[in-house]
Subunit: 253 residues, 2 copies
DNA sequence: TTGTGTGAACTTGTTCACAGCA
DNA sequence: TGCTGTGAACAAGTTCACACAA
């Protein structure tokens, strides 16, 4: 166990590991699907398969939240959905603003999963005066000049930056100054923010480069097993999606 | 990794930790910016600040690549750009297909950073016959029927899935069967793939949920220091971006 | 019997702090 | 002198394996 002291489950579990937090949405999605199919209970094994992780990890993750399962049976789907939602703070409504309504911003505005789970697009903001008033995904775009007012009037604490890289830091500074404390950044730039503000970044080109690295490695390995022809031994049921490090790598000191 | 078996091919000493690989693109971007400003050398301290990490980590990361710095001086920018590019496999050209040309697919197709660094959009594919032939970002959309042919003709090994969740697994299976071995998945679904295929996922709603978790926690902590008014102590140089940060999400099969 | 919950072992990643080279 | 390169300490995350509740 992490902290020496045995913590009380039910209410406030201090210290849920970050890696666990990052997986809760995954479990939640799988559970929601089960819930829609009116499945009453799941075992860690089944749920883990659905979420693409292994079952020991899932059980460990859940143990940080409390003891919500029943030995010999499994987890109650509805109950878990509720507990995880609460833990993630999704039982309340989070107004979100999207800044930068280009291709990507529009895609985000149209993204359905947005609204579905506690998030509400409070406003779309763009620097181009020609965009002002034009509706995107049914929401009229507002000009950057309104940014501070929008944030304050709507009590927005989460902002999404989908501007070009050059504008991102400036937009970020204004968001933060206006009271935003969590930022999801799609611009390919490192943002600097004061303490207490969370930034998460999503970066297409970084993801591709990581894939290229592994791809290159595979190509260099034309010696191993039945490589060479991927089309051949397609066995589409590998199931276990979750763990992250492929390429364990030898690492000789 | 999925099956207990640690697949450890005969590949040489190349044991670059996954966490390091995930940061190399960051360093590369910072270095490219320096290169464009004709800066000849950087210290680990400066480069680390530009990339949003701390300098010890950066030095450790570089040490896995080799000894490319000069003590007392720093790193040669051009040389490092080359070494990292090579390590990431960006000295070759990677043809990529994007499947699902909705809002998001179009945004991706238009994304400049795509082409800039070794990646080339070889084709855009969509299931809607009405889309066929329509140019997006200057590239005509092709129908899903052509998928296998496109992959094979262009030697594509990296595929981007930007379809609705319901179609993602099927598209994935076809991509893999046709020879794709790396997939970047934007659909909110767990994909199952055979061993040897890498999947990385980008999921807006997961990112937002993680932010909501931290946001909720902040709200519950209204006791701490300078609470309530973030606008106050703005100190825009906190530098280190990834506190809990990246949480990549490599999902090998 | 079944499947959760969890100490304990293990693996991976980060930070420290300093030896040693330019 | 200044900054890299790296062993060693530390921290976080994952997996194992089994006691134990239902």
């Amino acid at each position: 166990m992490a902290t020496g002291r045995t913590h009380r489950p039910a209410t406030r579990s201090r210290g849920i590991p970050e890696a666990t937090v990052a997986r809760l949405p995954l479990y939640l999605r799988a559970l929601t699907a089960l819930s829609e199919r009116s499945v009453p209970t799941v075992s860690s094994e089944e749920l883990a398969a659905a979420a693409g992780v292994n079952s020991a990890k899932l059980r460990k993750d859940f143990s940080y939240l409390g003891s919500y399962g029943t030995r010999g049976v499994g987890y109650d789907v509805e109950y878990l959905v509720y507990q995880i939602s609460r833990e993630l703070g999704l039982t309340q409504d989070w107004p979100v603003v999207i800044v930068g309504i280009g291709n990507l911003g529009a895609a985000l505005a149209n993204y359905g999963g947005f609204a579905s789970r506690g998030f509400r697009v409070a406003a779309l903001i763009d620097a181009d005066p020609a965009m002002a008033g034009k509706p995107v995904a049914g929401i009229p775009v507002q000009h950057t000049d309104e940014l501070e007012k929008i944030i304050q009037d709507n009590g927005v604490s989460i902002g999404v930056i989908a501007t070009p890289a050059g504008a991102a830091q400036q937009v970020c500074d204004r968001l933060v100054a206006a009271g935003v404390t969590s930022i999801l950044n799609f611009a390919p730039t490192v943002l600097s923010v004061p303490d207490g503000v969370d930034v998460r970044k999503v970066d297409l080109s970084i993801e591709l480069q990581i894939l290229a690295f592994h791809e290159q490695r595979k190509a260099g390995e034309e010696a191993g097993a039945a490589a060479a022809h991927p089309a051949a031994a397609t066995r589409p049921d590998a199931a276990d999606q979750g763990p992250d490090g492929d390429v364990p790598a030898v690492m000789p000191a």
